[in-house]
Point group: none
Chain length 547, copies 2
Amino acid sequence: MTRERLFLFDTTLRDGQQTSGVTFSIEDKIRIARALDALGVDYVEGGWPGANPTDSDFFQRAPGLSRATFTAFGMTKRVGRSAENDEVLAGVTNAATPAVCLVGKTHDYQVETALGVTLEENRDAIRDSVRHLGRLSREPLFDAEHFFDGYKANPDYALSCLEAAMEGGARWVVLCDTNGGTLPAEIGEIVSQVVKRIPGANLGIHTHDDTGMAVAGSLAAVDAGARQIQGTLNGLGERCGNANLTSLIPTLLLKKPYADAYEVGVKREDLPKLTRVSRMLDDILNRTPNRHAPYVGEAAFTHKAGLHASAILKDPSTYEHVPPEVVGNERVVPMSNQAGQSNLRQRLLEMGLQVEKGDPRLGRILEEVKAREDAGYAYDGAQASFELLARRELGLLPRFFDVERYRVMVEKRINARGDAITVSEAVVVCVVDGERIMSVSESRDLATDDDRGPVNALSRALAKDLGRYQGFIEDLRLVDFKVRITSGGTEAVTRVHIDSTDGQGRRWSTVGVSPNIVDASFQALLDAIQWKLIRDGAKGQGAGAAA
Amino acid sequence: MTRERLFLFDTTLRDGQQTSGVTFSIEDKIRIARALDALGVDYVEGGWPGANPTDSDFFQRAPGLSRATFTAFGMTKRVGRSAENDEVLAGVTNAATPAVCLVGKTHDYQVETALGVTLEENRDAIRDSVRHLGRLSREPLFDAEHFFDGYKANPDYALSCLEAAMEGGARWVVLCDTNGGTLPAEIGEIVSQVVKRIPGANLGIHTHDDTGMAVAGSLAAVDAGARQIQGTLNGLGERCGNANLTSLIPTLLLKKPYADAYEVGVKREDLPKLTRVSRMLDDILNRTPNRHAPYVGEAAFTHKAGLHASAILKDPSTYEHVPPEVVGNERVVPMSNQAGQSNLRQRLLEMGLQVEKGDPRLGRILEEVKAREDAGYAYDGAQASFELLARRELGLLPRFFDVERYRVMVEKRINARGDAITVSEAVVVCVVDGERIMSVSESRDLATDDDRGPVNALSRALAKDLGRYQGFIEDLRLVDFKVRITSGGTEAVTRVHIDSTDGQGRRWSTVGVSPNIVDASFQALLDAIQWKLIRDGAKGQGAGAAA
């Protein structure tokens, strides 16, 4: 049976950025675009070139996608000037992307009151703008803003706007439920009517989650004939978010009737990447991932101990509608760590640590991870700390040095010239090969360091003199630092993630947890140094492993 | 037009408690049950009496509901004993609730493999158990576990189980999609078939959110003839959660066709309680509320500055499908460097600051916001700091006190007993009414404070003695603390958001930015105190405003 092609259009970098508090850096955008490309999404909308400096720069440094069509977003030309002479539109086309998606109004009321132009002028603007894209050899897409409200108010006008876009050569006309208020059944009904009245249109659907049904609304549109779905990773987006591609993708690939009827750019073999991609986005946004997210949430396959947990071992389908591994997630059954051990061996292997099946140390590592996670640690984003933990249990962690004590001070005061200055000073006392080494370092707000706080002062005091290890750590740099308040047992604790790099281009992440932010940072710093010493083959003190 | 009655059945206290990590105390259950009752939910399922001591005690201390039917949950009797002699069932009926909901299997495979009984024995157990409830004058409900999977495998058997429950006198038979894998269209189709084959059945629907469509699945069942919806507040529940009543209720009351077709126990005038009830549950669970939750999320009516924010002021329906106040929520138009003067005036008005159109101070406030956002500040999530900024420009910020200097120290060392201890000590020197006040405070990791780091020490040193302002700040608590490394101009800076509360139940957010995390935290702390002093009407020093 031939399956029809269904296209996925990701707008995490554009509509997702409309979320209050969300601002992506260029590096963030590049990472996300590449992950979407690797996943198999068909279109990656990067932003609105010309609307702000970051978006403009991002398009200049095009992320180099291999499968996905890189797409710029913009608005149809203004009435009263030609498409060629509209500098806002020029800003968009200058980005030179293979595809351009232009939004335009299709709700008569909006056209007349918000734009203040005639219905005909608006329709002409849509047609001319889309045609202009074609002349520049761009694949043109048209986002019909407020389409469902417009259709309910004046179906003929709303449809005529779609037709104008098609006359202009639009490859896709996308029906947007901009305020998120249309329920799935009504979306399905209206899409059916559009299909009937404009046969041959390539329809897309763009929904928002204001009633908690953006995913269902997208599927209702597909059922009625839409063949492109616009959405975002993790449902990121203004207000309640956009249609969640992270939920839609597995449903389309794994569930009837979609799996049988449609071919999607994302392949079954790409699907296990999904959980990682979802977590990466939260990591970039420094958000706690939604534990209960469909398919990819940490709790999506977690079974509370008791009846369910024992039933799940006999027959997983009782409480799991799909196997967790197909989306790259894991089952968590508090009673058993059977599944845990084989995952763990795989992870250790990726770090170059080969451990035999059934080795009792595997169970001890899992127990230690669980105990630490209960205490607030999170190893998902801290592979280097995880490796150190595993090495400790395996007896493969050399003892390099001990820290006897440290002290860090931050002071703000008025200096002799009358300026308010802040100074951080750190003292660290280490013991290497039986020798005490005392180092002091300061960080001042008149200095040019990236981070001029207590953690940087500590990091520099630590790195200042580590005796015979000094040579190994001279190129180590602290490049990112994230802090979250979380719960450790019954208490609130501070979790610090630190990213480090070295002169060989490695980048690694470590974690520390403590009720005290400085102490948590110090743990993560120590882990960062130890991981680097291991990678560079530094020899420990004596032959033994650390306790 | 007569509207048909649609019933809401809440299982937050039973199925919601299946969430890993969730355990309600008796007091929690009483608070939640009463809130559900006040909201107008028809059934409140309190738990499984006999299954654990808390549930048993909770039923003994029945919460005294005025409108809702208090319901106990249990399992149909075991095969091989009579309903009268099943002590598990007796545990349930002893709770003496007006209604009892019993779960039973309807999937032939489950009956034969998991229960290990014949299909007929299982069906008889359902009939007898339900009949037993009726004899005890309880309203009997039957939850058909795995119904949709059972129906797909063996429709005749699954239906015969429903019929057995009805023969026993079940007031409701509830179709459960236990593993959450059935899509809304299929739920609708199967419910239609059940309606056709068992006319006169009172059908309920119980869905899970494993594909992100529990709400849509519930509505599909209603469209097909179900007249009871089972769900939980905030969609609490195992794995991805249950159908979210907090999303369903406003849709049923506010949206066509439901609002016209059905009468629900929750009335329009009860609906503004919804946001508060939702936040109360998170508060009890000590969870951060989902900002993006439909209707009740903090961001559900938040409009990022720019095109949308100005459109919303002209016509709210452009980006709001319902008015926020009908669900007890509010519109937020956050400040940002794209915001215009009209947004700003609106925002100031909400803070009680009336400024005339065209006032030149409006432009100065926007410039200051822009300059600070460029330096790394983010006012989206820090309304209190934004208010202080605006007041400063408007000359409406009293000068309460000055900070001359502070110093904070963190030390980790081995104490006399050989334990590693971490101590934070802070010294703050303030000037109030010309008088220097020096305060010192410490935070130790053996103490019981929530946060035992330098920020807490600083906060406590600041709060220790503020002279005549002391009375105003005694009930101030630091409740959340978020840190992000961001870029300020060309350099990396640390941005700290702090949430504070006071004894009057206020919660407010402030922001600080500095290359030094301690300094950024200190700024946010100072803002938190100043905002509180303003709200409580504290008088500044002299008459002037601070520079």
